[in-house]
């Protein structure tokens, strides 16, 4: 426990001293929400025939961006760098069980993700009059599943990528289509049918669906839940097997 606590403190400090990660995981989603809210928010008036407006569906959607950024930017790039520079090697030479390093990293990233989402909720509530029709406990469960499922994907990318450059590129290649097409940035219902059917194959779409359903009516979107559970299981098992310390 002493080891784990010290590892968490170290990871937290490293995160706070990494300005780019800090910007993209905390500031970027908040700025995006503010910008989208100003341009498209229209006072958060409900859509015709619905009891929710633009802002109400956009906050849970942006949760997809938060978990995507952490999983596909932070984790692969930082892990590949730590590996290439021999940091992981030095850690593994100590008696510390190496998985604790990863566990602490996951813990810190999860806390960061929750804080980033809380920041969105605060901005949406006070600046744009967000409505919320679900339960916060359920949202926390759905968000936790989303974050862990995506982090499993992130460690899989980190395990497979031979160099930091490949890790960065692979993360981007996975992230960009999800950013554009998953409904995280642009509401899915505004997209043509063709795009919507492609979007079904993107994991981030399922984060958006799960969290929007919980947010707007407290419903569990079971199909999407299973997709995320499957990604967590497969990503977790594969990266545990394939992870390389050097």
């Amino acid at each position: 426990m002493k080891t784990y606590r010290k590892l968490v403190v170290a990871h937290a400090k490293l995160f706070l001293r990494e300005p780019i990660a800090l910007f993209f995981t905390i500031a970027f989603p908040a700025l995006l929400l503010t910008l989208l809210g100003i341009v498209f928010g229209h006072g958060n008036v409900p859509y015709p025939g619905e009891d929710f407006g633009y802002i109400d569906q956009q906050v849970p959607a942006l949760a997809g961006i938060i978990v995507g950024t952490i999983a596909l930017h932070s984790i692969p790039v930082i892990t590949a760098n730590n590996r290439e520079r021999g940091i992981l090697r030095r850690l593994k030479a100590s008696p510390m069980p190496a998985w604790q390093w990863i566990a602490a990293e996951i813990s810190v990233n999860f806390v960061v993700a929750v804080l980033s989402l809380v920041l969105l909720i605060i901005i949406a509530t006070y600046a744009f009059g967000m409505r919320f029709a679900g339960s916060w406990g359920a949202v926390l469960i759905g968000f936790t599943l989303s974050a862990f499922s995506f982090m499993a994907l992130g460690y899989l990318v980190a395990s497979l990528a031979p160099t930091p450059r490949v890790a960065t590129a692979a993360g981007q290649i996975l992230y960009m289509p999800m950013f554009m097409l998953s409904g995280a940035a642009i509401p899915l219902m505004l997209m043509p049918d063709g795009v919507q059917s492609v979007a079904r194959w993107l994991p981030m779409t399922h984060v958006v669906i799960v969290l929007q359903s919980l947010w707007l009516g407290g419903e569990w979107a079971m199909r999407s839940i299973w997709v995320l559970v499957a990604m967590l299981a497969v990503g977790g098992v594969l990266s545990a097997r394939l992870f390389r310390w050097e």
């Binding site: 606590r5 010290k6 170290a10 400090k13 730590n82 021999g86 940091i87 030095r90 030479a93 008696p95």
Partner: protein, 304 residues
């Protein structure tokens, strides 16, 4: 007391490439044991296998009577490790790194005195990325001593340091041993091994080609020590060659080199020259180095 390290017929392969080829040796408590050889000789492969960081391997290795692979974690509690290629998180400060690594061991010693001893206490609030090469090396040494280890492995400790920092680091290694610890020093600098080590294993092409005290290794090569004198008209090469202590006399570039291994070589030569009133201008002695030993044994020069 059993040896601290016993290595029997250790072979380490990467695929079909044999990096370490059937080496055997033992290291005694309190020794500074050197493993020297050119780059690519297999030193790091050997020593990291012995520390339990690389497997599989063939042969038997015991460190502190433990199997380094089966009991890796237990062994890691009791050895100090400075790897040839390693880094630490750049944005952690020196004291934070010490604090973090303290948490990795069941028992660790307080780090402030360690930082003081190794001259980096003033740098405790600097981030790792802000340190010079020598300071980083000190951090690695301090980290390797944090668990008060019984054996310390130092791999290419002084590579990349300027000559002054290198000399300081040598003094630190002496200090580690003075605390009663056993040191395994891996280096491609023959001079470093000659200065610091009680015994030296010279490795080339994955094999141990010689293992002895530095003096023993130097004595093993004949005709390399002697003295040099500036040539003069009065010089009598035949006279010198006839001395029982002298094995060989050479003249080149106006310098006479007189080789021999006898302990009284210098005094007998000086006496003979004195008696025949032959001037001894610029007399100096020639000491062979471990570099000469390596060249003699392998027929090739050490590359840096």
């Amino acid at each position: 007391m059993p040896p601290v390290i016993t290595v029997q017929h250790l072979t380490k392969r990467y695929g079909s490439f044999v990096a370490v080829d059937d080496i055997s040796f033992a290291v005694q408590q309190g020794e500074i044991f050197g493993i020297v050889g050119p780059n690519g000789a297999g030193k790091t492969s050997a020593v990291e296998t012995i520390m339990g960081l690389r497997w599989p391997f063939e042969g038997t290795v015991r460190v502190l009577e433990m199997d380094p692979h089966q009991q890796r974690k237990e062994l890691a509690e009791r050895i100090g490790i400075q790897l040839q290629e390693a880094e630490l998180p750049h944005r952690l400060k020196v004291w934070e790194l010490m604090e973090l690594f303290s948490g990795f061991y069941r028992k660790s010693i307080p780090y402030p005195p360690l930082l003081e001893t190794w001259g980096i206490w003033e740098k405790r609030n600097s981030r790792f990325e802000e340190l010079s090469g020598g300071q980083k090396q000190r951090v690695f040494i301090a980290l390797s001593l944090l668990n008060d280890p019984e054996v310390v492995f130092l791999d290419e400790l002084t590579t990349g340091l300027d000559p002054q920092a290198r000399k300081q680091t040598w003094a630190m290694v002496e200090q580690i041993r003075a605390q009663g610890k056993t040191v395994v020093l891996v280096t491609h600098f023959m001079e470093e091994a000659q200065t610091l080590c009680d015994r030296v294993a010279i490795i080339d092409g994955g094999k141990i080609i010689a293992l002895d005290t530095p003096q023993g290794l130097l004595n093993s090569i004949d005709g390399q020590s002697g003295l040099m004198i500036e040539n003069s008209p009065e010089m009598d090469m035949a006279l010198l060659q006839a001395l029982p202590t002298v094995e060989r006399v050479e003249l080149s570039n106006g310098v006479v080199s007189i080789y021999g291994n006898a302990d009284n070589l210098v005094s007998s030569v000086v006496l003979a020259l004195e008696q025949h009133r032959i001037p001894m201008r610029n007399l100096r002695t020639v000491q062979p180095s471990l570099d000469d030993v390596f060249i003699t044994l392998t027929g090739k020069a050490l590359r840096d």
